[in-house]
């Protein structure tokens, strides 16, 4: 009985071994290779998409008229400056009030809750528990500079003058907006006092927004090189056109005096 069994085993041993080899090849060779191929394929796909993005970006960059956009940026910088230069703003508002015949009695500045990058970080850690709305308000305050101005004028003409002042204020190249107005007539009825809160936008360009000189591995600015170029929409063009027609009251060069000396006005 055993003899035929051994004979049968001898007959099929090679075939059985071959089947075993095939069975082992699948998990040991084919599956890892498939996994490698999948990874590489993904890598190649990502690389291809990135290359496509880069090519599109080059195409976009070639279409840009560098000189023209530099001039546009120079003009927009007058409307939305990157820094909170106060002197030209104060002088500009004073001139504007003077032109409309109003007298500035008092001026206070609120440079915004968050004024510097370090302050942003500190605010972020402190205000973790605050609501989203509060965070949004803080972010908005960062990009705003608020002045409170008290103006005074005789009753007869005061209302017309403040109206003219507001009309001119709304058409300044350095964007100025009124957040609130309070008007009060004196008990004798001779003068009006106006309390105005004027805000102006300030926008600093962060390295992510403005620069592409970053590596693709940077966590704060993910792959800025392949980031598509932002396009100027029709609305943007309208804003540019609007800004170009505004009057520049604050483009005043205020001479700087030396600091750290006994008499800076010498």
């Amino acid at each position: 009985m055993n003899k035929p069994k051994i004979s049968l085993l001898r007959t099929y041993i090679v075939s059985a071994l071959a089947v075993l080899v095939i069975i082992l090849i699948v998990p040991l060779v084919i599956m890892p290779q498939l996994s490698k191929i999948r990874e590489k394929n993904l890598q190649v796909k990502e690389g291809r998409e990135r290359l496509e993005a880069l090519k599109q970006k080059i195409e976009g960059l070639n279409k840009i008229d560098g000189e023209d956009e530099s001039l546009q940026l120079f003009e927009v910088e007058k409307s939305v400056p990157s820094d909170k230069k106060l002197a030209p703003l104060i002088v500009g508002i004073r001139n504007l009030a003077g032109q409309t015949g109003l007298r500035i009695v008092e001026m206070n500045l609120k440079p915004g809750k968050v004024a510097t990058a370090s302050a942003v970080a500190s605010t972020k850690t402190k205000d973790k528990t605050k609501s989203t709305q509060a965070t949004a308000t803080t972010a908005e305050e960062k990009d705003r500079l608020t002045l409170t101005v008290k103006l005074e004028e005789n009753s007869d003409t005061a209302l017309d003058k403040i109206k003219n002042f507001l009309t001119a204020l709304e058409k300044t190249k350095r964007l100025l907006g009124v957040s609130s107005i309070g008007a009060l007539r004196s008990s004798e009825g001779k003068t009006y006092t106006f309390d105005l809160a004027i805000s102006t936008p300030v926008k600093q360009i962060t390295s992510c927004e403005g620069s592409q000189a970053k590596t693709s591995n940077s966590s704060s600015c993910p792959d800025i090189v392949a980031k598509p170029l932002p396009s100027l929409s029709g609305d943007n063009e309208n804003v540019l056109k609007y800004l170009s027609q505004l009057e520049d009251y604050t483009g005043i060069v205020v001479p700087l005096v030396p600091t750290g000396v006994e008499n800076p006005f010498q």
Binding site: I181, Q212, L232
Partner: protein
């Protein structure tokens, strides 16, 4: 003789089995070799495709590098920085212009109504959410009526809304009506809605 016949029978049986086994073995071997060849071909294809992907990846990498170099050229860097800064600033300007309340319009309309009605403005408070509180004096009820009519006039329906009389007093010491009105200024944004890009006159 009988023994010889039995022997012959036995030899025939063994020979038949051997022939059968040999045939099976050959067939199985052919099948196994074919399967082995097929597996080898599959493995070769997989390796070949993998090598192709590697070479393709290398080619993409070199093209990406040259594209990156082109983008990082001084001229293109300057263009990109300018474009990004310009868009950020224009967006900020747009945000500011659309959120700012044109107070000059509200004041202009209000001054007109006060003058027409013969009333005087004593105090007012306007905030950028559109809330307005107007306090003043009217020499007679007719004057006050004119002012209210003006504020609630259909022509100004797009400018003023939610007009509420908060207080109206008349005392014999002061020969006029003192009033406080709460209302809403409905216009918002300094940019013209049609996108004409011209400042409001």
């Amino acid at each position: 003789m009988a023994e010889s016949t039995r022997d012959i029978n036995l030899i025939t049986g063994i020979a038949e089995e051997e022939v059968k086994t040999g045939g099976y073995r050959r067939k199985i071997n052919v099948v196994v070799i074919a399967i082995l060849l097929l597996v080898a071909v599959v493995i070769a294809c997989l390796f070949g495709y993998w090598l192709y992907l590697i070479s393709w990846g290398t080619r993409i990498e070199s093209q990406t590098k040259s594209a990156q170099d082109e983008i990082s050229s001084k001229e293109n860097q300057r263009k990109e920085i300018t474009r990004r800064a310009l868009v950020v600033k224009v967006d900020e300007a747009q945000k500011f212009l659309s959120s700012t309340v044109p107070f000059s319009i509200s004041l202009d309309k209000l001054i007109g109504l006060l003058k027409d009605s013969g009333s005087t403005l004593d105090s007012s408070k306007f905030t950028n959410d559109g809330k307005m509180t107007v306090g003043g004096e009217a020499p007679a009820s007719d004057n006050f009526g004119k002012l209210v009519d003006g504020l609630t006039n259909e022509q100004l329906a797009k400018t003023f809304g939610n007009v509420n009389l908060t207080s109206l007093t008349f005392t014999e010491d002061k020969p006029f009506y003192t009033f406080t009105i709460d209302l809403r200024f409905l216009e918002k944004g300094l940019l013209k809605k049609n996108g004409g890009g011209t400042p409001e006159k």
